[in-house]
Subunit: 352 residues, 2 copies
């Protein structure tokens, strides 16, 4: 009887899949690096593959550049019934698999929208996919068995399956992930070029938020952006044009054009904000001034919880060299007054 | 004997100053709108001005467009010894005051870096300025008494005084506040133009952060950006050029140029991140998977507090249609392992 799953590539994603399926599926582990397999096995992600034993499904979680070659090699060994490969940009990998002569009916590309700064089997986690969107990208050749196998895999790992073609996937992540990365990096690069030190002392939460992902690892992002350059490039060009027109509007003091940009920005942001909560309730902010010491944020949130208020998001604004800060709670608008009253009753300094 | 302070313009800022000085200073309140004065007085910000009684210091917290005229009118009445005006862009207001014939030696421009979405005396708060940078912008004409009076005012309100010339102030906020606003608005505008709905379902925390301030009020920001257009315009143009070059690098698959942008972005972000904590400690992230119901975030933070860990920032990542989410705590790097151990011991699902 075949094992349930063979994971090829026991890095962060492959090992996390094994950990997520622990107790559910008999998982085989393979990697070019035997130490990586041993680490994954020791953490409980599955058992080391002997190079022969077959599996119902084979998941390739190797670097995108070697997927096609490894896929064809393993398909010729006949060790799997259905196949999938993980990559953050789908179309190039699917094209490479076709060019390499892979059996396409049994194959479905896939991309769990999960990751973290650290990498490797050591950083893997059974929770990595829990609640995260998990893209399924069948090609025109993908058969129903392969698609069903990947959907089942995503669900058993706790992910939220979202089916869309490779091209659409790549365009979606270009807009929702790769463009924001380039934007934040470029903003921070201008900050670097123009700041003489004094300016950032006047920085507020706006700059903090807008530049946050500029801290991402360059080596990783060079790969991602290069692989998806065809989709990202035109979006970056469009943003550059939008900003060029904004600069002209400012130079000409064209208030109508400036206001038009701000209004379109409101509407664009609403697309994301609505998505965030997964519903279209209205939200409101409750601000609390707190001393900067352990337990203060927790105390604020506990008081809100005591009142039955669900806090959707939290923001903390610290201030340089000062012993206090502001905690902002995002709550459903219809619970705002309850939250404010409960926090004030518990002795917190609720801001109006 | 003169009162300590006359506040002219009892909106959010003026009324908040009165509330912050309650019990410390005898505050007089004036506004063109008698209802605004009555509201501020009823909230305890001070007492209604009779139009004659003098004060040691007069703070003009009126809309920037009427500052110069009101200042000259009141100076001719001789009701104050020293004077200040609040505005988010300093140089144009200072120029208007000079052109209107104001007595400049007794005057110092100022800008508390505080604000909120809501406005008016009703929204005012004694805490509004606590721990916030408060810019003091003396002109070449400002005498030592006027500067000292504004510095004292900032300190008594709980603000952190930061002295810099008007031109430097305006360039600093252009970079640290106005450019990020235009950037977020333009990014969200591209999102609006290009999204067909599906894409934002793949949005992660990166897009959330980068677009957050695109939700800001257009009417307010048209005023701010127009008043500081001379400083903001060139920065927006520079960012547009940076993005144009990034688009070209992507089109030409110039990996070196893409990596260079990402590396400069890292360095630019580090300027802000270091500022944030007010010191240069290293920080680390601790992630915890939680069910989406009241009290969960508080529980996580309490467990961290029990271990004596100070949480510098909190991020909550909700997921559409799912009953769980991820709470990320930013902690000093040297406390990360303690925080993780304490949370795990308290039964929380700590992510690796």
């Amino acid at each position: 009887m075949a094992a349930g799953l063979l994971v090829v590539g026991t890095g962060l994603l492959g090992t996390s899949v094994g950990l997520a399926l622990r107790g559910d599926t008999d998982v085989l582990l393979h990697d070019r690096d035997p130490v990586a397999v041993a680490t994954a096995a020791a953490r409980g992600a599955g058992r080391s593959w002997d190079g022969v034993e077959p599996a119902d499904h084979v998941l390739l979680a190797t670097p995108p550049a070697v997927v096609a070659e490894e896929l064809v090699r393993l398909q010729r060994l006949g060790v799997g019934r259905t196949w999938s490969h993980v990559s953050s940009v789908q179309a190039p990998v699917q094209a490479a698999a076709q060019a390499a002569g892979a059996e396409l009916a049994a194959l479905c590309g896939t991309h769990p929208m999960a990751g973290k700064e650290s990498s490797g089997a050591q950083a893997a986690s059974a929770d990595l996919f829990r609640g995260r969107p998990w893209a399924l990208c069948p090609s025109a050749h993908t058969g129903p068995d392969a698609l069903a196998a990947v959907r089942s895999l995503a669900e058993r790992c706790g992910g939220v399956p979202l089916e869309l073609p490779a091209q659409e996937h790549d365009e979606a992540v270009a807009l929702a992930s790769h463009l924001p990365q380039v934007t934040a990096s470029a903003l921070a690069a201008v900050l670097l070029a123009r700041s003489a030190g004094q300016q950032v002392r006047l920085a507020g939460p706006g700059l903090q938020d807008t530049s946050r992902i500029a801290a991402s690892a360059p080596q990783l992002w060079v790969e991602v952006l290069s692989a998806n350059a065809a989709a990202v490039g035109p979006l970056v060009r469009e943003l550059a044009g939008e900003l060029d027109r904004a600069a002209t509007a400012l130079e000409q003091l064209d208030r109508g054009a400036v206001e038009d940009l701000l209004v379109r920005g409101n509407a664009g942001r609403a697309l994301v904000a609505v998505k965030r909560g997964g519903h279209d309730r209205d939200f409101a902010v409750v601000g609390v001034s707190v001393p900067d010491r352990p337990g203060q944020i927790a105390g604020v949130l506990l008081a809100a919880a005591d009142a039955g208020v669900n806090v959707e998001d939290v923001r903390v604004d610290h201030l340089p060299g000062r012993p206090s800060g502001v905690v902002e709670l995002l709550v459903a608008a219809d619970t705002r007054e309850d939250a404010r009253a409960a926090l004030a009753a518990a002795g917190w300094a609720v801001l109006p």
